[in-house]
């Protein structure tokens, strides 16, 4: 491209201003990336981590009330149900109360069949199956506490009091940038043998794998009818619905963060647009010269637009890249923000927004440049 030299010369005419304008884009898009991550943490894009094939069955009274283990066989008998697994919420912490994370007592037999996306190496899993006090932990939690396979970790129980010793037998990984890698799994049997008589034979919730996602609503109804009028009535939902309802309880906080951040994002862009306009206005004379020596109106317009697009794209992609890098290696509140990823989709949206704003902020000055009457512009000092 033969005008590259001119474009570059114009870009670098005021290096400091270039730096500041690119810097504004950098900051704006960095903020965008960061807010997108927070939105994901508070349940945005729940459809990505859930499966349409799974249902969640909880006690109708509330999620903290248990269900009897005997329901498992009865759910399995319902046509369309492929597999059933169950979990108990353990509710403990490691060393200090601040170190909270989700521990589940799992049904070892079916866990991997119902949640195939959470993968454990075969040898680690077979060790875990044999080890009564074994545990499998998500990669993020393992990293957070520096646990390795073979470590012994004591977990202090809150709901089930006492100190519980576990051996880390395996580490599971989810799909990159998607799944929750903070869970801690251990044998349901281990929990069962240590709880008091009154709490035996109870599970926290069931996860049901069905053959056909289109049957979800029907099967939910069948399950709830099956247990209606029993002492333990159930409430079933597709996994995505369950998850969405759960995070909706944080709704207001998420809404606040996102809207407030959004407003400011645009303020920053306003600042950038203004700077671009100043930069073009300063060069009115030069643009007039370009036109005087024969370049078309369209060329001058595209030229100005090109400059603002370059600034926007360079600054914006650097900002998104920095946000990605930061959030990959650092999570400010790991106990609460389990899913802390900047998703590729969000990055693409960010780039599109950058392009749009770059174009919008360049457009007005570019039109001015196009409409410029050479005689007037040259006469102006």
């Amino acid at each position: 491209m033969k005008f590259r030299g001119l474009l570059l010369a114009n870009l670098f005419r005021k290096k400091l201003r270039l730096l500041l304008t690119m810097g504004s884009f950098f900051v704006a898009l960095f903020l965008f990336g960061f807010l997108a991550v927070i939105r994901t943490s508070f349940g945005g894009g729940a459809d990505q981590i859930t499966s349409a094939n799974r249902l969640v069955v909880i006690n109708r009274v509330s999620i903290i009330q248990p269900l009897p283990l005997s329901y498992r066989e009865r759910i399995l008998r319902i046509p369309g149900v492929k597999l059933v697994t169950f979990d108990n919420w353990f509710g403990g912490y490691y060393q200090d109360e601040k170190n909270q994370f989700a521990q589940f007592a799992i049904d070892v037999e079916n866990q991997r069949k119902v949640f195939p996306e959470l993968q454990v190496p075969e040898d680690q899993w077979s060790n875990f199956v044999r080890d009564r006090q074994g545990a499998v932990v998500g990669a993020a939690t393992a990293k957070r506490f520096g646990w390795k396979v073979g470590d012994h970790v004591p977990i202090k129980g809150v709901i089930f009091p006492g100190v519980w010793d576990f051996n880390i037998d395996g580490i599971y990984h989810g799909r990159p940038n998607r799944d929750d890698e903070t869970q801690f799994w251990f044998h349901w049997d281990y929990l069962e043998e240590r709880v008091r008589e009154a709490y035996k034979g109870q599970v926290g919730w069931y996860t049901v794998l069905i053959s056909n996602p289109d049957d979800a609503a029907r099967i939910c109804k069948v399950i709830d009818t099956e247990f209606a009028n029993s002492p333990y009535e159930t409430h079933s939902d597709a996994e995505a619905v369950f998850f969405a309802n759960w995070v909706k309880q944080f709704g207001n906080v998420q809404f606040l963060i996102v809207t407030i951040g959004g407003v400011v994002f645009f303020t920053l862009l306003l600042v950038t647009g203004n700077t671009m306009a100043i930069a073009v206005r300063e060069r009115t004379g030069e643009l007039a010269v370009l036109k005087a020596i024969g370049y078309s109106d369209r060329f001058v317009m595209l030229f100005v637009l090109g400059e603002s697009l370059v600034i926007a794209v360079v600054g914006g992609s650097l900002g998104l890249g920095a946000a990605k890098l930061l959030t990959t290696f650092w999570n400010p509140v790991p106990s609460v923000l389990q899913i802390f990823y900047l998703r590729p989709e969000a990055m693409i949206t960010g780039l599109v927004v950058t392009l749009a704003v770059g174009a919008a902020s360049g457009l007005l000055p570019a039109f001015g440049a196009m409409r410029l009457r050479v005689v007037d512009a040259l006469r102006r000092v």
Partner: protein
């Protein structure tokens, strides 16, 4: 000799468009900063005001929240006779309690949120003397009757005085509404602990926590010592204030950390905006500055003058930011509390010290954004600047 401030005021008026943009950048940043901190403050204030210094909370040792506790009736009897426990006309002021959560539909979205349902003893209002019945009556012990908090009644549909509702396998009648001074109890629903245990198929005479009204706040240690010495008591005693303060930790930390980070990133952006504005001001006025220098103003006065200008702009931005955050004060919102899995209504709390912090934040941005352009202005060689167009 200092350059008069009028000069700065006039020059801001001259370049009002770019000044307005810089002001807006700072306004947005300060507004968001104050809003986020007010949110965290409001949440914390709601929980902390739930605790009263005259009360102690007794839970099984190791429990971090009421949901995980269990205290037997025998242990409650021991507490009733323990030293430091206040006595009223109805005997020792001790309320053994059970907490469950139940889903009710939010008025705002129609979706369910978890409400804390607290089973209390008949003496609950004597133990927590900051809570008053404002409509209807207290529940009758032994009957499936509810009294609901003021906020709960406003937040959820179907929690009005006189309504009958079903949850936990029982049908309940709402006989009263209580006001708890916008503490966390305002988001709760109360009933008789024994009835709750029955309906929820929980073991009878096992409670999750016991709230004790002390003879005085200082009596806490006395009670603690007595109970620790008793081998039958496997419990922890904390002051109610400390308990609720801890409960508010997680969410208020999340809001503060995230809000602080967002404000910090925005602050950098706003500084860039201010820098751009001030640099272009310096560039446009190169000749003016050179003229002043030629007239005898020192380079120190030039730096000072430009700094003043930047601070004026940022002060205006900070003021506007405060004004825009002010209407949030008292606005009620809600969120799930991580420690209890239940939904809690709370209001933004914009306090004078937050506003002050906002102004300081703005001035800091202005100082950083103005200093470098001011130094550049002072360094320009007088002769060249005068000669240039």
């Amino acid at each position: 000799m200092p350059i008069p401030v009028v000069y700065n005021l006039r020059s801001v008026r001259q370049r009002w468009a770019s000044a307005v943009v810089a002001v807006l950048g700072i306004t947005g940043t300060v507004g968001v900063f104050i809003a986020m901190m007010a949110l965290a403050k409001g949440f914390k204030a709601t929980l902390v005001s739930s605790g009263s210094a005259g009360n102690a909370l007794v839970m099984r040792n190791g429990s971090t929240s009421e949901l995980g506790g269990s205290v037997s009736l025998d242990q409650v009897r021991v507490l009733e006779d323990a030293p430091g426990v206040a006595r009223g006309s109805s005997g020792p002021l001790v309320s053994p309690e059970v907490v469950v959560i139940a889903p009710f539909p939010l008025r705002s979205t129609g979706t369910d949120a978890n409400v804390q349902v607290r089973g209390v003893s008949a003496k609950a209002l004597d133990v927590r003397n900051n809570i008053k019945i404002i409509k209807g009556t207290f529940f009758h012990p032994g009957l499936a009757e509810l009294i609901v908090g003021n906020n709960a009644s406003n937040t959820y549909s179907g929690l009005n005085l006189g309504d009958s509702i079903k949850f936990g396998g029982g049908t309940w009648r709402i006989v009263g509404v209580f006001d708890a001074n916008s503490s966390a109890f305002d988001s709760e629903v109360w009933c008789d602990a024994h009835v709750l245990n029955q309906i929820y198929h929980r073991p009878e005479n096992v409670f999750q926590s016991v709230t004790v009204h002390l003879t005085s706040p200082d009596a806490l240690q006395q009670l603690k010592d007595a109970v620790t010495a008793d081998p039958r008591m496997t419990v922890d005693i904390t002051s109610e204030v400390a308990y609720y303060d801890k409960q508010s930790q997680t969410l208020s930390t999340v809001i503060k950390v995230l809000g602080g980070l967002v404000a910090f990133i925005m602050g950098i952006g706003a500084i860039f905006g201010a820098l751009n504005t001030m640099y272009s001001a310096v560039a446009e006025r190169a000749r003016e500055i050179a003229t002043m220098r030629a007239l005898g103003f020192g380079s120190g006065s030039v730096v000072f003058s430009f700094l003043i200008e930047a601070l004026l702009i940022s002060f205006a931005g900070g003021l506007l930011g405060c004004l825009s955050a002010l209407p949030l004060n008292g606005l009620t919102t809600g969120s799930m509390n991580f420690q209890t899995f239940s939904y809690l209504a709370f209001a933004f709390k914009v306090t004078p010290d937050l506003l002050l912090a906002g102004i300081f934040f703005a001035l800091a941005m202005g100082a950083i954004g103005g200093l470098f352009p001011a130094i550049r202005a002072a360094r320009q060689p007088v002769a060249t600047a005068l000669r240039s167009l």
